[in-house]
């Protein structure tokens, strides 16, 4: 007991004064020069740029191990690299839910006598969900290279961002509904679609059937609701992403107020439903009418947001082309592609 305690102490002192050998790990992707980077919010609200990947794309590169004290050997219990996709709930930090976990061994236990580079490739990795940093939950993908040692491992993480792509849904009905307060206010609202992509435009109208209150103005808000937890411990976080006034003044019966709301200007993610049974991110349009006494009358309606892939150019790598076709309802897209071919013939 005493000898192992002593050993621990010596080990700690050694690494503090760098008497032993240590190393720096650096992960470099193969196509780092050409690969697209996107901005993604970190937990503390700052924005950073990360490499962008899609479902099915291969993740490959090199792990550079640089010895800190050249000439000294680095003993290790193995060198490996992992590709991990995990969900972290902020109120339950200890538990990371890994939904993707791949590992490649780079070196068997032994020793390094000089700095060395190891190649790795995770072929056609499944990345089923989009990266998301929210108010109570974070979903992230990252590479982690580890040099295992007896006392303390050396590791390095590199985050990547994953976007999930969809294509124009086959069924995209409009939303049309009559709502109101009996004998006071009847309106019919209509939005041209129920599913919008992130750079889409909401085109709609509000038709007044009965107006017995004194309306001052009307606005449409976009609300993002993040839901985490299950059963009795469900947390909802509502965030108003946008407030857009569509009418200033008092309407009368028979008047129709148009809506044209461009989504590209707002920071939104695709709709995420019950991701790995851990969380959801949903979006709602909130139509709000305000009367002269500041009373608010509102109607909330959920919309589905999806991410459209960029136009596939001939120079785009074959892998990314395959990846952009892996989306919800892939069988529909094959029909659509066949239809396009038919149309162009």
């Amino acid at each position: 007991m005493l000898s192992s305690l002593l050993h621990l102490h010596v080990g700690a002192v050694m690494s503090f004064f760098s008497f032993g050998q240590s190393a720096e790990i650096d992960i470099v992707l193969n196509d780092a020069e050409t690969k697209k980077k996107v901005e993604h919010k970190t937990e503390d609200g700052k924005k950073d740029k990360y490499f962008l990947f899609y479902d099915g794309e291969t993740v490959s590169g090199k792990v550079n191990v640089t010895l800190k004290n050249p000439g000294k050997r680095l003993e290790h219990q193995g060198i490996k690299i992992e590709f991990i996709g995990q969900i972290e709930l902020y109120y339950d930090r200890g538990n990371h839910h890994e939904f993707v976990s791949l590992v490649k061994d780079l070196a068997r236990p032994g020793e390094l006598t000089q700095s060395q580079t190891f190649d790795f490739e995770f072929t056609h990795v499944e990345k089923p969900y989009e990266s998301y940093t929210g108010q109570n939950v974070k979903l992230r993908y990252f590479l982690r290279a580890t040099i295992s040692r007896r006392l303390n491992d050396i590791s390095k993480e590199m985050d990547i961002v994953v976007h999930t792509l969809s294509t124009y849904p086959e069924l995209n009905s409009s939303i049309k509904m009559e709502v109101g307060i009996e004998d006071c206010l009847h309106i019919e609202f209509e939005y041209n679609k129920s599913k919008y992509h992130l750079k889409d435009v909401i085109v709609g109208k509000i038709y007044f059937l009965l107006v017995r209150i004194k309306i001052k103005h009307m606005e449409i808000d976009i609300i993002k609701r993040e839901t985490t937890g299950t059963g009795p411990n469900v947390y909802h976080e509502n965030d108003t992403i946008a407030k857009y006034e569509i009418m200033d003044g008092a309407p009368v019966r028979g008047e129709s107020i148009p809506i044209r709301l461009f989504l590209a200007g707002y920071e939104m993610t695709p709709t995420m439903r019950d991701i790995n049974k851990k969380f959801s991110v949903r979006y709602y349009l909130n139509l709000v009418l305000i009367d002269e006494e500041e009373r608010r009358y509102f109607k909330q309606q959920e919309i589905t947001l999806w991410r459209k892939g960029d136009i596939v150019r001939k120079s785009m790598s074959h892998q990314a082309a395959i990846a952009s076709q892996r989306f919800e309802g892939s069988s529909n897209n094959e029909k659509a592609v066949a239809q396009n071919k038919e149309d162009s013939n």
């Binding site: 307060i181 006071c184 889409d200 435009v201 109208k205 107006v211 396009n340």
Partner: protein, 161 residues
């Protein structure tokens, strides 16, 4: 299905508006004035009443024009009835001004002209805010207050007949 390069942002079709709707009187006409304060009585039994005149075209009000006399305690009665029976957050009344009712003041107390005017403005704001509320319009007490000559304090609360 072809993918549109630019989104179609043309307005949705809508029915043309009927001109009688466009240029006719609005269906939300409701005006209530609180004015013409009069102090009645002598000495310690004096009190001030205000004329409450209402003009409207809302179908929920039986009379399209009405005019009644009310005093401050009648407004208090209305506020209490609404707070008890409805789910509305009732706006505040102008103050009770108890200090003004103490003896040995240098002025007329609650019968001071400037005070009566201040109170009149507050009461007018109060009744206009309440009367336009869709839920308050469903309470019998509001209709009694606005349109019946005298307030029957033993009325049965509920929906107006």
């Amino acid at each position: 299905m072809s993918e549109a390069a630019v989104a179609d942002t043309r307005r949705l079709n809508s029915k043309p508006q009927d001109l009688t709707d466009a240029y006719g009187p609005p269906s939300n006409f409701l005006e209530i004035d609180v004015y013409n304060p009069q102090t009645i009585g002598v000495g310690r039994n004096r009190f001030t009443t205000y004329e409450v005149r209402m003009r409207t075209n809302l179908p929920i009000f039986k009379l399209k024009e009405s005019c009644v006399r009310r005093r401050y305690s009648d407004f208090e009665w209305l506020k209490n009835e609404l707070e008890r029976d409805s789910k509305i957050v009732v706006p505040p009344l102008p103050g009770k001004a108890l200090k003004r009712q103490l003896p040995f003041r240098g002025d007329e107390g609650i019968f001071e002209e400037s005070f009566i005017e201040e109170r009149r403005v507050g009461l007018e704001q109060f009744i206009n805010r309440i009367a336009g509320h869709p839920l308050a319009q469903n309470e019998r007490c509001l209709h009694i207050f606005l349109q019946e000559e005298s307030i029957d304090r033993n009325y049965i609360p509920g929906k107006p007949l």
